[in-house]
Subunit: 110 residues, 2 copies
DNA sequence: ATTATTTATCGTAATATTGCAATATATAAA
DNA sequence: TTTATATATTGCAATATTACGATAAATAAT
């Protein structure tokens, strides 16, 4: 197989999983953090910043973009990437909600 | 390849990526949500709840456990799984921090 | 027009993931 | 002890991911 059965789960569950999967690699976490740290949304510097080859970085950027976590805009010959605030906000809300629900429960085991 | 170069990134980045990767599959998101929803941390009901075969569910549970997101305790012949509050709290803090940092920045492109 | 610069895509090798049937393990009940 | 119940492990096929060299595409500068 190797094929995720997305149709068996809710749209929301798939949405969350897709975004988290995109961040399920240290290079992509590093890219996100770099884009946030640098206050302009600088682009190909990511390649210099990361210890990975240019095609590899490009591929990671594509995955982040496909998952909706970053956006890119053409800036002359370069491309300017930046974080999609909405999607990050969505994840933030998701975990905030979960934490809230967890706070109420008292554990009966574990 | 197919091999993540974890040594090239920070411990924190790897830690976050590992947990998010574990949640990067709708079945595992569904398991987390189910464990939170059911206020006792019931175990093998997960198999009935999810539209996946028992070995598949067992495997997903293992991945969540390895990533530290859930814990399991033996309860007679059954095993009782529940969410590890600390790790969820860690993720919650992570995204809260990112959101805060993002709020300050004004976008220069995208 | 030619050349340099920047980013994307292709091709490919190594490895990982997903899913499940079959089977093993381990405890509870009879 | 035998049988039932619950969960884990093994083995395997199909597919996905990771990484990068080589190359393409697209714009800027000369």
């Amino acid at each position: 197989m190797g094929l995720t059965k997305t149709d068996l789960f809710t749209v929301k569950q798939n949405e969350i999983a897709t975004m988290l999967k995109a961040l399920g690699h240290p290079a992509r976490v590093a890219i996100l953090e770099y884009l946030i740290r640098v206050d302009s949304c600088i682009c190909g510097d990511i390649v210099d910043e990361l210890p990975l080859a240019q095609p590899t970085v490009s591929q990671h950027l594509k995955e982040l973009k496909t998952a909706g976590l970053i956006k890119g805009s053409i800036e002359g010959t370069a491309i300017c990437y930046c974080v999609d605030k909405e999607s990050v906000s969505l994840l933030q809300s998701y975990f905030a909600g979960i934490s809230l629900q967890l706070a109420d429960k008292e554990k009966r085991c574990c």
